[in-house]
Symmetry: C2
Subunit: 384 residues, 2 copies
C-alpha cells in the first residue's frame, strides 16, 4: 500500500481570540492550503476535529460550514470527535481516507473556541463529557491529575520539583513559538509558588483554556512528490481506548491507551522508542508528560522524572519533548491540540521549525482523550 | 484491494424509549455482535454515529462509554458526526477503517435519544445545527421542505396526492417492521386531512421525533467467509457536500449532494441505477423521496411523482423504496437513521427481511444531512 504523506501544515495564533469557531477553522484551513500550494477545489475529503462546539458555542454543522468557507464543495466532510484527542483522531481519520483510496487530497482542520467561557465552566464541560460517571461526584480532570501526581511522587520517590521542570522546559520552548499562548519563561520557584489547584499540582502544572485552530494536508506519497521536495509521511499510527471509569484501572501510573496505541504505532512503523528524535506529548498536566514518556518506552516505569531532571528532554537534549511549548505553554484548544502536535512534528521533519528546530528524521505525537480514555499515537518520518 | 463485507446487523425498537443514549447504543451493539457470532474483544475499531447527544442530553464521550459497556477495550473508538447523515457517514468511516487495513473487525453503532424533548425543541436543535444562517431568520428544515414541495408541485404539475402516496406507501411497509415507531396504515385522505405544518406539507408528510439505535459489523471479505455463508459487501460508497446556505443552490429541486454522492457510488461499484433492486431513501419529508429518486437516476427530473403514483416503488413494484417503512414510519433517530437504512438493505440482501422481503441482489441507501448539506450514498451487493 502506498504511504500517506503530509504536504502542508498551519496553525493560528493560540490564545484568547476574538473569533468564533468557524473563523478559526477557516483561518487555519486557508493557511494550510497556501502552505502546500493546493487549491480548495482539489480537496476530496475534509475532516474537522472538534470536541464541543455545541457545548461551548451552540454551534454545529461546522464541517459543512468550513467546506463552504474554504470553497471546497463538493468535498466530503465529517466531524471527528474523540473528546480531547479529537485532533489525533482526525490525523487517524485523514490517514484512513488516503490509505483506503477514498481520497487523494484530504484536509484536516482541528479547532476549539473556549475562552468566552470561564475556566470553571470549561472544566465542567470537559469533565461532563470525558468522565460523566466521576463528574457526578465532583471529580474533574484536574482532580485526577492531582491524585495521580501524588501517587507518582510518593511511589517513585520523585521530587516535586521534577514536575515543575516539565512546565519550565515547555515554557522555555514556547518562547520561540510565535503562535503559542504564553511566550514567557517561568522558573521552578514560580511554578512551586503558584496557587494550588489540585494538591500537589499548582496553577503552572496545568495548561490554559485556549482558542485556536490547526491544519494538516494529506495525500498519497506519489501525489506529494508533485507538490513538495520535502514532506513527511505517516510511518505508524494507532489508537486505543482505556476504561471509561478511572478507578477500574489496575495502576494509576499506567495509561494503557498510551501503551497500546504506542505499541500499534511502533509495530506499524518498524521503529522503536530509541529511533524517535523528537516528540510532542499531551502535557495537559505536567504529570501526564511523565506517564506518556514511560508508556511510550522513552523511560522505564517510574523513571521519567529522572530524565527530565537530567535535561534529556530539553530542546538540546537526547530526546526533545514538546519543542512547540506543548499544551502547557502553546495552549490547549481541545480539538486543535492533536493537530497542532502534528504540525510541530511536520515542521521539525521538513526543517521549518525556525528557532525551535532540532535534528530529526523521526517524530512522534501522542494525543490523550479524557484522562487517558482514548489515546492516538502517530509516528512520522521525513521524506527528503 | 479486498472488498469490505457486512456480516451482522441489528436495530433496537424505534419510538419513545425509556432509556438514555448509552443504553440504546449498547442494546444495538450487543445484538449486532450476537447476530454475527462475534465476541466483543474481536472488535478493533468502534464508531458511533450521533448528531447531538450533547444538545439533547448533555452527554458526551459516548463512544468511550460504549467501548466500556460492550467490553470492547482496547478497541479504537471515534464518534462520527455528519448531522442527520451521521449514520451514512459512519458506514463510510467503517468502510475506510477496513479498506485502509487499519481494522479487521469494525462495529458501527448509530443512535439518538430525542423524545424527552418536545418536537419544537428538537426542531430547533436540528435547525440550529444544520442551518445556522437561515435559522437566525426563523427557518427550520420543515420550512425548507414546504417551500421545496410547493415549487416542485407547481413546476412539474404534480398532484398534491403524489406526495401523500409516499407516506401511504412507507406506512404500509412499516406495518411489517417490528421495530418501526408507527405500525399502522394511513390513507391519502388521512394525510391530506392532517394539520398543516409547512404548506403544502401536513403532519403526515413528516417523519417523527424518535429514540433508537442501529448497528452494523464490518470486516474484510476474507474474514467474512469465516463467519457467514451469506453476507453483503459494500460495492460503492461516496459522500458529497452541497452549499451550507440553501438559497445559493441553483435549482431547489436538485440536491447536488445526492447527485454527486450517487455518481461516486455508482462509479465505484460499476452499477447503474437500473441495477438497483431495492433502496432506502431519506424520507424525512415526503418531498425528499422525489428529489432523491431523481438525483440518483431512478426517475427523470420532475417525474418521480409519476412512478410513485404508478406503484413503481411499492414493495411489489419494479424498485421497492423504503421497505423498512422509511424514516416516515420507522422513525428518525438522527444518528441511527443512516445505519438503520444499511440494516434494511443488508437484511434484504441476505434474505432476513421477513414479511418485508423482496428479491434483491443490489441495494442502495441514501442518507441526507441537513437539507442536503452533506449526503452519503452506499451501494451494497449480496454475496452468497
Amino acid at each position: 500500500m502506498e504511504r500517506v504523506a503530509i504536504i502542508g501544515a498551519s496553525m493560528t495564533q493560540f490564545g484568547q481570540r476574538d473569533a468564533w469557531i468557524r473563523d478559526l477553522l477557516a483561518e487555519a484551513g486557508i493557511d494550510c492550503l497556501e502552505d502546500a500550494g493546493v487549491d480548495p477545489d482539489e480537496i476530496e475529503h475534509l475532516y474537522v476535529s472538534n470536541m464541543a462546539s455545541g457545548e461551548f458555542e451552540g454551534q454545529g454543522g461546522i464541517m459543512n460550514g468550513l467546506a463552504h468557507d474554504l470553497g471546497a464543495l463538493p468535498a466530503y466532510t465529517e466531524r471527528v470527535d474523540q473528546t480531547s484527542s479529537s485532533g489525533g483522531a482526525g490525523i487517524y481519520a485523514a490517514w484512513r481516507s488516503i490509505a483506503s483510496g477514498a481520497s487523494e487530497m484530504t484536509l484536516l482542520v482541528g479547532g476549539e473556541k473556549m475562552t468566552h467561557r470561564t475556566t470553571a465552566e470549561a472544566t465542567d464541560v470537559i469533565a461532563s463529557i470525558t468522565h460523566p460517571c466521576e463528574y457526578k461526584h465532583g471529580v474533574t480532570l484536574p482532580s485526577f491529575a492531582g491524585l495521580t501526581a501524588r501517587h507518582y511522587l510518593d511511589r517513585f520517590d520523585a521530587p516535586r520539583e521534577s514536575l515543575a521542570k516539565v512546565a519550565v522546559k515547555n515554557h522555555r520552548n514556547g518562547v520561540d513559538n510565535p503562535n503559542a499562548q504564553f511566550r514567557r519563561e517561568v522558573d521552578v520557584e514560580t511554578v512551586l509558588g503558584s496557587p494550588v489547584v489540585a494538591d500537589p499540582l499548582r496553577l503552572y502544572d496545568f495548561c490554559p483554556i485556549t482558542d485556536g485552530s490547526a491544519a494538516l494536508l494529506f495525500c498519497p506519497e506519489s501525489v506529494a512528490r508533485e507538490y513538495a521536495d520535502e514532506y513527511a509521511v505517516i510511518a505508524g499510527i494507532d489508537g486505543a481506548t482505556d476504561t471509561h471509569v478511572v478507578h477500574e484501572r489496575p495502576d494509576p501510573t499506567v495509561m494503557s491507551g498510551v501503551v497500546e496505541s504506542g505499541r500499534g504505532a511502533y509495530e506499524m512503523s518498524g521503529y522503536e522508542p530509541d529511533d524517535v528524535d523528537v516528540a510532542e506529548l499531551h502535557d495537559m498536566f505536567t504529570i501526564l508528560e511523565f506517564l506518556q514518556m514511560e508508556g511510550l518506552g522513552f523511560a522505564e516505569h517510574g523513571e521519567a522524572w529522572e530524565l527530565v531532571e537530567a535535561g534529556y528532554t530539553d530542546r538540546d537534549g537526547e530526546l526533545p519533548i514538546n519543542t512547540s511549548g506543548g499544551l502547557k505553554s502553546k495552549g490547549h484548544p481541545l480539538g486543535a491540540s492533536g493537530v497542532a502536535q502534528g504540525v510541530e512534528i511536520y515542521e521539525q521533519l521538513v526543517g521549518e521549525a525556525g528557532p525551535r528546530q532540532v535534528e530529526a528524521d523521526v517524530g512522534l505525537a501522542c494525543n490523550v482523550g479524557g484522562f487517558g480514555n482514548c489515546v492516538i499515537t502517530t509516528i512520522m518520518e521525513a521524506a527528503r
